[in-house]
Symmetry: none
Subunit: 189 residues, 4 copies
């Protein structure tokens, strides 16, 4: 068979994603419209719909490309330090300029089951999946006490998100360290 006709212009994907991120930051998720994204990107609406089937799908991709994937998971061999580093990166994002967007998106995650599902599969899960085996290894090495791996692999992120999004308690700089100390104590016995 083979492709026929004009190939899709990759600059267009770029322009759409950038417009989406910009509007997400400026207007928030609720007030972002496909119409607005298309206009901002200098693109027809149909061109957007040709690539993403819904506002949700577009936003998920925009976030994934520009914000989530920017978190780096270090591997220093020191499990506790690695966890603290990851939590610090998340904390910075929840607190900083990108945090506004993050809030908007997570806020939407929460309302929108479909978005939550997709997002969780594509972005969150990857981080969790990477940390879990290291946690198990750390427990075996005796770096941290044994425990419920499933609970512990999420607890840090859970506490940060809960503070940022629900309880409204402050996100202090020392929070990652406190979390690590409380939930992954050095095995000193």
């Amino acid at each position: 068979m083979g492709r026929v006709g004009r190939p899709r212009d990759p600059h267009v994907d770029e322009a759409i994603l950038s417009a989406a991120v910009d509007l997400l930051i400026e207007e928030g998720f609720a007030r972002l419209s496909i119409e607005g994204v298309a206009a901002r990107a200098g693109v027809g609406k149909a061109t957007v719909y040709r690539r993403w089937e819904s506002k949700t799908a577009l936003v998920v991709d925009a976030i994934k490309e520009r914000l989530v994937s920017s978190i780096e998971i270090p591997e220093t061999g020191d499990f506790r330090a690695d966890v603290e580093a990851v939590l610090t990166q998340i904390l910075v994002r929840l607190r900083g300029m990108e945090g506004q967007v993050w809030r908007a998106v997570v806020g939407e995650l929460v309302k929108n089951e479909e978005l939550a599902h997709v997002f969780s599969q594509r972005s969150m899960a990857s981080g969790r999946a990477e940390m879990r085996p290291r946690l198990e290894a750390a427990m075996e090495r005796g770096d941290v006490p044994p425990g419920d791996v499933e609970l512990l692999s999420d607890v840090g992120v859970a506490v940060l998100h809960h503070r940022a999004l629900i309880s409204g308690e402050p996100l202090d700089d020392d929070l990652p360290a406190r979390i690590v100390n409380q939930f992954f104590p050095r095995e000193t016995r």
Copy 2:
């Protein structure tokens, strides 16, 4: 001076809130419309807008009135059992039909700082405030090991919310028990 004009009919508030909760459960937040709520309540749209300035405000009130305030905090003297009971109630709500609605509200909380504050003070915080002194007492008694009270008083709710709203992992029946066992272990040394 005193009030003038016809007073607002409290039955109308009731009818609107009930219609909102019903539609929230049946249709979800996104597909709920003020138009639909008004029709369901047998009420004019203006009557809704006279009381709530937006869909968001209405839904938050509906939740607060009908769902959140129904959580009971037991006081059996057994701290670990009390925590598990509270977490179980929250879990049931997050999982049940009401959970859909809960998602909607928490999603809004995230965007609206003022709302988050009010909400957190009136419903979430009350639970936290009540549990914290008991946690401290339990630590002193040696029922649970000492630790970071601020982190520990939120960790259960944080984990439940994170699973329900963000990570999408299942809310199993044994989750409250696992949380208590992991984070508030019986002091067996």
Copy 3:
């Protein structure tokens, strides 16, 4: 038997009519609302509805009281002069400040059969009824040539209204005189 209860306050009628005329001039018929009239008059809506059953009825009364009844029909003995005087008064109103209102009302007359009927009965007809016998007398005296009395008793007003409201041709000062000369010529044979 007799009336019981508080009697209606005549100042209220005044206030409502004045408010109605003012708003008619400022906003026109279409944009005049009972709500606005009541507010302007410092009166409850029910008080307006107690006196007039519709916007139409109120406006008809307002016009009748304040605008139409101000046309004077002179009786000098000179039929042609009398006609010219009446036409001049109408022309001035159609052209002047009150003309705006007049346009609005006649515009409404035209759309609103009920209003047209009432209005025609109450205000227009009276002028016509008064002029017709004089026209007949003038014909008998030979002041004007004989002709179709029914047509002739309306033709002047008809031409003025047609120019003002439909054809848009100018309402010149000499129009009443031209009308009289053309349709009621001095019997010079």
Copy 4:
């Protein structure tokens, strides 16, 4: 350059105008709503507003397209017969089902000077312009007595409109003949 984007569908204009005329006849001007027109035409409201900026503008166009332009001006050589024929056509329209609609438009004309101008130029004036030179010719030929051409070229229409729209007097079948006889008498001297 040329037009871009999807062109407007002329069938849609047709459907909207037809729906407007139908509803105008069935419900009258006051009870006609854009919402109703759109529904009847099987069209979104925005599609109506894309073409006409108000109910008024739509109705005027509907009338112009469907009713006004349908008047034929005959040319038999007999001036008096031609005038009577035109007046009869107008009378039929003012009296028939279309007359309701006619009232609606003329009512709007009256308020909207710009509209009145356009309307008068495009539809009314064309008739007047065509009849005036014939009137002058007829006067020269001695078919009708000399007189004020400007007044006489409008007087028939003026009388019909006045009866139909303002005074409410009946529009009898013999009215055109009576008008011709009174205002354009056969020159028998």
